[in-house]
Subunit: 236 residues, 2 copies
Amino acid sequence: MMRKAGAKRVSGEDRTRIPWSNIPKPSLERLAQYHQIAIRAGEDGNENLSSVSLSEILGVDETLVRKDMASVGIVGKPRVGYSTGQIINKLEEILGLSQHTDAVLIGCGGIGSALLRYPGFRKYGLRISAAFDADFAKVNQRVGDYVILPMEKCRSVINTFRVKVAILAVPADAAQEMADWLVRRGVQAIWNFAPIHLRVPAGIVVRNENLALGLADLIHHLRRNNMEKEDGARTR
Amino acid sequence: MMRKAGAKRVSGEDRTRIPWSNIPKPSLERLAQYHQIAIRAGEDGNENLSSVSLSEILGVDETLVRKDMASVGIVGKPRVGYSTGQIINKLEEILGLSQHTDAVLIGCGGIGSALLRYPGFRKYGLRISAAFDADFAKVNQRVGDYVILPMEKCRSVINTFRVKVAILAVPADAAQEMADWLVRRGVQAIWNFAPIHLRVPAGIVVRNENLALGLADLIHHLRRNNMEKEDGARTR
DNA sequence: TAGATTGTTAATCGATTAACAATC
DNA sequence: TAGATTGTTAATCGATTAACAATC
């Protein structure tokens, strides 16, 4: 097999310059899970975690765990494993959970209110600067620590706090229009909770938090499991 | 390259027996997005959708769209495209959104209450049979159309309605114990909203709805985008 | 018919796994 | 030292893309 000349550099100089510029999606998902597991392990008093135990908990190959660790610069000790603390610290840095991120929240209905009340965000460095709703009946109501502001105020909040991230929790039929508006106001990333695929200009990041997909995924696996069971029974 | 004898059958007889038994995850995610886009297109009065337009909206290769469609049995017409209605119907069937699924919801805090109020679930065929909370202060309170029940009632509800799915929205430190309990009661799938990796026996399906991962993903892309911009500016 | 679009087979690419060397 | 565990290189596997034939 042929290799491009210099490809080897990727694991050398190049990576030190931009250490984790492009982590593949499946890898990123595993990293987030290692983080969760390491936190639990730490709480249980385990100072070290081996690739084998991580791989068993997640049901993946142990080599993959080591590859993942190496890819983000977490180094382990032979016969000991990886330091729980190092896993947590390094991953929080890489996943961006340790730095503060300012966001505005748009739409204070069911999902929006729940997100406003969700205590976990603080822990992950997300600071919701303010919450907005287009419905005047909701304006000035309190939700958790927030007072809902009218959309007119949104522009100045984005400017003042230089907010780059918007959490979009409006109904599906209002989401696209609101996304367009946010992008015009300088928002660079939209965390979309509306069950709709947003069209945004190149360079704008959208993450769809699609509950229908979650449900579909769950049902799909459940179904497959049941089919395997039936198959097994038939074959037996 | 060598092929196992008979591998060709996969696209023949085998597939007709179990039509969509094992859809790869990335494919499943795209299918859910096609579904969303088709619904919007239908609302806009478009009776057909081409693989090219779908691919442009999602930023994927058009061949991939056609492969996905073929894999689930959606057939298009040359010069016309795929019928919006067929996409919607077939995908709802495949994603399990058209069949009813009964679930119990455990934990009526911020996330739990939001899920109870979320009107979208009905549309996707999810029926929450009842909602429970271990906190007696919450029992008998109303949330949306539900009255929160004490955990003692959970067992009989699972048995009576033969509930296979549980939505777990309890705090992280209670999640594992609750999951164990649910599995003992016969629950086969857990939709987990607690930020923790659950350990469950083989054969039990867990889908983690991990908001921290969503946030990490968003921050990761945002960061990468900004780095590219800086790189571009420097190079220019 | 010509052209647009689907559908399929072969090539490529990237992620996972296997094998094994390095290290404490 | 022996053994457990990390780290890395090569092989495999599966998903994506390219090329092109089929069809309306």
